[in-house]
């Protein structure tokens, strides 16, 4: 194979309009979700995001029944359903002894069941696989515009409130004491998460959207001790993972959604093993304890008895 034909083969996907749209959509969603993911992970809400993603279903079903498969209707339906579950969960938790993860989990399971029942009444066929993995190769110009808008809203919102959000994530109590409107910020973050999930529904489905939310940020978390680096690192990993995953799926002829997820999982696995500070390998290779250094520390006490008094404090 000649050099030029290899390049032309690699560039082949760019020749198709559907592939161009898919790439752009993937890049946008990957970057935005990767950025948002840092906030979700540091708030330990990865599973809440999962719960919300499943609660979109009844909204999507209702929309499909009444307005068919128009993207606007689906987004609005999903948004309302997820917000009801999220806010309903918050309300249940605040007004009873139920903890919020119990409240949200109860509601999302109910919501999912309602969704599956409702889908039967839809005149158009709603495929559950489509709901879970989307149809990235079928992205329309309208879907692309929705991605632009969501990315813009999410990234602007997070960038503007980055500092108060950081204070809140780190310690909500102290942040509240220093005059930050913690509840308002938390609700805003929840709304952005829901928006991110719903807006990428058509393109990548809830599972891939969730994967892009969690996996890149988790990878970055294992690699750095700096908040800004985790933030941008997650975004860049999300972008690289989704674009290269899409390429890979094109050439290997496998479904794009799972392919992207598996590639991101490979990144996470690599960081888990090879992270310079927190990796499995380094913790195995490190000396068990600082032997010589400790002996040196005790040297000053040589004249005393070697049995030091043990204290309980």
């Amino acid at each position: 194979m000649t050099h030029t034909s290899l390049i032309s083969q690699l560039l082949e996907p760019f020749g198709y309009a559907f592939m161009q749209r898919a790439l752009l959509s993937c890049a946008l969603i990957g970057f935005t979700n990767g950025f948002l993911g840092t906030f979700i992970i540091l708030r330990r809400q990865a599973l809440l995001a999962d719960a919300l993603s499943h609660s979109l279903l009844p909204g999507v079903a209702v929309a499909a029944i009444f307005v068919g498969l128009s993207p606007g209707g689906l987004i609005l339906g999903g948004l309302i359903a997820a917000l009801l579950v999220a806010l309903g969960g918050q309300m249940l938790a605040r007004n009873s002894r139920l903890k919020d993860e119990t409240a949200v989990a109860s509601l999302y399971i109910v919501a999912f069941a309602v969704g599956v029942v409702l889908i039967r009444f839809s005149r158009v066929k709603v495929d559950l696989t489509h709901f879970l993995f989307g149809n990235i190769l079928g992205v329309s110009d309208g879907d692309l515009w929705i991605s632009y808008l969501t990315a813009f809203i999410t990234l602007t919102g997070l960038a503007v409130f980055q500092r108060p959000l950081l204070l809140t994530l780190f310690d909500a109590t102290v942040a509240r004491a220093s005059g930050i409107r913690v509840r308002w910020l938390e609700t805003g973050l929840l709304a952005l998460t829901v928006l991110g999930l719903v807006a990428s529904l058509q393109a990548v489905g809830v599972l891939l959207s969730l994967g892009l939310l969690i996996l890149p940020a988790a990878t970055a978390y294992l690699l750095t001790d700096s908040f800004p680096r985790m933030l941008w690192g997650g975004a860049v990993i999300g972008l690289l993972g989704s674009v290269s995953g899409l390429f890979l799926s094109f050439f290997a002829n496998i479904p794009s959604g799972p392919c992207i997820i598996l590639l991101l999982a490979l990144f996470l696995g690599t960081a888990y093993i090879f992270s310079p500070n927190y990796g499995l390998l380094i913790s195995l290779l490190r000396k068990r304890h600082f032997h010589e250094e400790s002996l040196e520390r005790w040297d000053g006490h040589q004249e005393h008895d070697h049995r030091f008094p043990t204290s309980n404090d």
Partner: protein, 248 residues
């Protein structure tokens, strides 16, 4: 005469109708390190949290330098209890101290020369320079406490509220923390510390508050923690509302 740094008037805070603090009055001036003592359930933590603006008073109120707590939020530093901090958070000692400047820099502002100076001064004052680049989990308990004090310093707080900060610290760390509190006091700050060991009162604080739901005494250590006052605080049962649960 200017308003006192901290003024608490007729303060009542209750949980589920049972008052943790009952009609409390006290006035404190800047430049003191004050220990708050009293039996379990005497309202030590409640008092600190209310001053920090985390709990809403049922009666009365709190003034900081003559202003409402909400207007003075950035001048009050409430130190988190160890359990409430996520020690795996991706932040270094320096990064944490920089957070203290966020109020001054605003949402977008860049760190100016004076912000940088405030941060490095705080690191120096609390002897944290050697650990500046460390992630916060890789510190001893005492170093962690000092990191939070340094953040409060960078925030330019006047009033420091610490809830049982000495709990779980070994002797060396305790000494370093006590020194740090003295440093704050010498710089004219007001420090309020809840503490359980009465025997250490004189070595750590210059004055004391003795609580038992209500204010038992306030003043110099000797005066506030006199045998008579202690008998009064620890000898009387605290109203816990038990009698009420059956009735009204």
């Amino acid at each position: 005469m200017s308003a006192p740094l901290l003024q608490v008037d007729d303060l009542t805070v209750s949980y589920d109708r049972i008052p943790a603090i009952h009609h409390l009055n006290l006035t404190l001036e800047a430049g003191h390190c004050v220990g708050i003592f009293g039996p379990n359930g005497a309202g030590k933590s409640t008092l600190l949290k209310t001053i920090a603006g985390l709990l809403t008073p049922e009666t009365g109120g709190i003034r900081i330098g003559g202003k409402r707590v909400q207007e003075r939020a950035s001048r009050i530093a409430y130190l988190p209890q160890r359990e409430s901090v996520d020690w795996d958070f991706p932040v270094t000692v320096e990064g944490l101290v920089e957070m203290g400047r966020y109020h001054h820099v605003g949402l977008f502002g860049n760190f100016s020369m004076s912000d940088r100076e405030a941060v490095s001064k705080a690191l120096e004052l609390f002897k944290l320079e050697p650990f500046a680049k460390r992630q916060i989990k890789a510190l001893s308990g005492g170093q962690q406490q000092r990191t939070f004090l340094a953040r409060a310093w960078a925030q330019a707080a006047d009033l420091y509220l610490l809830d049982e900060p000495f709990a779980g610290l070994d002797r060396t760390s305790s000494r370093a923390l006590a020194e740090a509190l003295q440093t704050l006091k010498q710089h004219g700050k007001l420090i309020l510390v809840s503490h359980h060991a009465l025997s250490e009162a004189a070595s750590l604080f210059d004055s004391a508050i003795l609580l038992n739901g209500e204010l038992v005494s306030i003043g110099s250590i000797q005066e506030a923690l006199s045998p008579l006052h202690l008998e009064c605080a620890y000898g009387t049962a605290i109203y816990s509302g038990e009698h009420h649960h059956s009735g009204v």
